[in-house]
């Protein structure tokens, strides 16, 4: 079943591009069906069916894919963000051909990310990472304007640096352990830890930090997020940095590298710095999307901080926060797209009082920012609580205090954003704007409902979703 998540969209992309007139109109329904089916599979398919081989003629289709609970969380997040990005892209791009290209590239990026979360081999991980990056690059430069091309170029260069570091590490590990599959490398690392494997692990973690946009490698993130077109920004911020960076870090640290004291200390430190730098930098931003980008950096710091504790509760917290972040950050970027389309600007100082004309966007934005800041009873509160409890219980009291204080700063900059953009007096030039189109309202409302549902129904999720996550840690 796992291989179908790769093969069916691939077949779809190939078929959609056959030179038949009516196929262009099938692009949007096909992508929508993909998103809905992937989400339902992630939620309802029993675990043993995932790993059963469904497609295999003659030895073809015999992929080495394994799906465990961590992969299922990511598959669900990918499906939800695909849904949101699809709607935002379809309704903000005017040109027909560009819309068609956008859908195709979106599906390709999603195939790449599905591959990343299901492989159990270092080299296949690299290949599918590259697929995702390539599709994202083209998505960022879809408008062919100066900003988009510049952002795409920055992403290309820094992503290439990151993949070169990862390839070097894979080569070193292949030399010393003789294989690239997760289980064999993990076994070999346990029996012969020496300075070369430590170097390989360090270089790999460095490459992954660049990919996740953690401090001090976060320079590209605000520029790229603010220069991408609306649909691409939703996809990038919602899932690409997380699936390629944070998920890979969690998977490799738990399944391959193991929690050595040095690695834990490194992760805790990087996480804490990212939280602080992201939060402080977001305070001073005037551009709506740049503020959201720095906020992303801060939230990813939380995930890495929680991962650095090495305890099962910490890992569960990191994964839950990853999922919640996918939901609320996508929500915020969809709102940003709606605001930009109606007002035509990113600058928060110019906007004001938009809530009078865009009530749904304003309300869902409040839900998203309360969730980010960790206010009960929304989803973000529970994941932040688990993270802070995990860090405190592991004995890192200072880090836990830093995390709590940064939460206050998060609340501060989001409140300031909300006041500047949505509340206050409606500026003169915006008297005639209307609420965002239905196409953009749909993902806004759906995402907000998911946030509220997860927050309020959390005790149910605790037993069925979160605690079983602990089984992925050996």
């Amino acid at each position: 079943m796992a291989s179908l998540l790769i093969l069916v969209p691939l077949l779809g992309v190939i078929l959609l591009n056959l030179p038949l007139r009516f196929l262009k109109r099938l692009a949007f329904p096909f992508a929508l069906a993909l998103a809905l089916i992937q989400a339902s599979l992630a939620l309802f398919l029993p675990a043993d069916l995932w790993n059963r081989i469904v497609v295999s003629f003659d030895g073809l289709g015999n992929f080495n894919l394994t799906v465990d609970r961590l992969s299922i969380v990511l598959i669900l997040s990918i499906a939800i963000v695909l849904f949101a990005a699809l709607f935002v892209g379809w309704f903000t791009i005017q040109d027909e051909k560009k819309r068609f290209n956008f859908i195709n590239l979106l599906i390709l990026a999603v195939i790449g990310m599905n591959g990343v979360v299901m492989v159990r081999d270092l080299f296949s991980l690299y290949v599918y990472l590259e697929v995702t990056v390539l599709a994202s690059l083209v998505l960022i430069s879809l408008d062919r304007d100066r900003d988009g091309l510049e952002g795409s170029f920055k992403y290309l260069i820094l992503s290439t640096v990151a993949t070169v570091m990862m390839l070097t590490a894979i080569a070193l590990l292949l030399m010393t352990t003789g294989s690239t599959s997760f289980s064999e490398v993990a076994a070999a690392l346990k029996t012969r830890p020496d300075y070369v494997t430590t170097l390989a692990v360090a270089v790999f973690v460095g490459g992954l930090s660049i990919k996740s946009g953690l401090v001090p490698f976060h320079g590209w993130l605000p520029d790229v997020y603010s220069s991408a077109p609306a649909g691409a920004a939703v996809l990038l911020a919602g899932i690409v940095t997380k699936a390629t960076g944070i998920y890979t870090m969690i998977r490799l640290v738990t399944a391959v590298f193991g929690f050595t004291p040095q690695l834990k200390a490194l992760l805790l430190f990087i996480g804490a710095i990212s939280i602080v730098v992201g939060a402080l930098a977001a305070l001073g931003q005037k551009d709506f999307r740049r503020m959201l980008a720095y906020s992303s950096i801060s939230q990813m710091g939380y995930m890495i901080l929680s991962l650095g504790t090495g305890t099962p509760l910490g890992i569960a917290g990191a994964v839950f926060h990853l999922f919640n972040h996918a939901i609320f950050k996508t929500q915020l970027f969809v709102n940003a797209a709606a605001v930009e389309e109606q007002t035509g600007t990113h600058d928060m100082d110019v906007m004001g009082g938009l809530s009078a004309r865009m009530p749904v966007t304003g309300a869902t934005s409040v839900v998203a920012f309360l969730s980010t800041a960790g206010i009960p009873p929304l989803a973000g509160f529970w994941s932040k609580l688990i993270i802070i409890v995990a860090v405190w219980v592991s004995g890192y009291h200072i880090y836990a205090t830093v995390a709590v204080l940064a939460s206050l700063v998060t609340c501060a900059y989001f409140l300031s954003m909300q006041r500047r953009v949505f509340f206050g007096k409606l500026a003169e030039e915006f008297q005639s704007i209307k609420e965002a189109r239905v196409g953009i309202l749909v993902p806004e409302v759906v995402l907000a409902l998911i946030t509220i549902a997860i927050g309020v129904l959390f005790p149910y999720f605790l037993n069925s979703f979160i605690l079983p996550m602990i089984s992925i840690v050996g």
Binding site: F63, K97, N104, S124, R146, K286, G344
Partner: protein, 210 residues
Amino acid sequence: MTINLLLLMALTITALGSVLKKDLVKAAIALAVTSIILTILMFRLASPLAAVFELSVCAGLITVIFMSTISLTKPLTAQQEEERLHSRAKHFASLPVMVIAAAAVLVFVGIPTNFILPPAAPAGDVRNVLWNERQFDLVGQMLVVLAGCFGILVLFKERVKTTRRAGAAWMRAIPPTAAGDKFNNGAQAPMKDDEVVSETVPFESVGRKT
């Protein structure tokens, strides 16, 4: 050992040449020569199939693609070349110094080589391994090619651009904001409401000017 060293030095020189040369065609040819030297190195490391792939893809296919792309662009004027050279020298002057310092440190400390495993018996014929054990990577390869095709379509296809912006008629009446007119991307003169401007936008007018 000496031959390997000479080959590696030649590799570094041609790679540097491909990055530093002003003329793009010469840079693409330098890249092809780099790939040829890499092919020779791979032959010497006893992997002929990898060497053949490298030669046919990088020295052959990539050079063809680069040449066709370069033929779509305008060359830099003499003044732009001057500026580019100066900014390059300013930014990267410290790089050769750092490389030589790092090399000196490594020579002094000595590069350890005792971690390399003895070469394991090859698990099987490369073709066997590729088709039976690495199928997923081949699918990934197909995806990369597809994504690349879409990239070329998106970035290089000429299209007719109509510049009547939907909805924001008020925008043309006010001057750009202090924070920079990002959404407009520096559109200059304000347009009338129902003026439709159609123009073909070839690649060279986007992003090539410094």
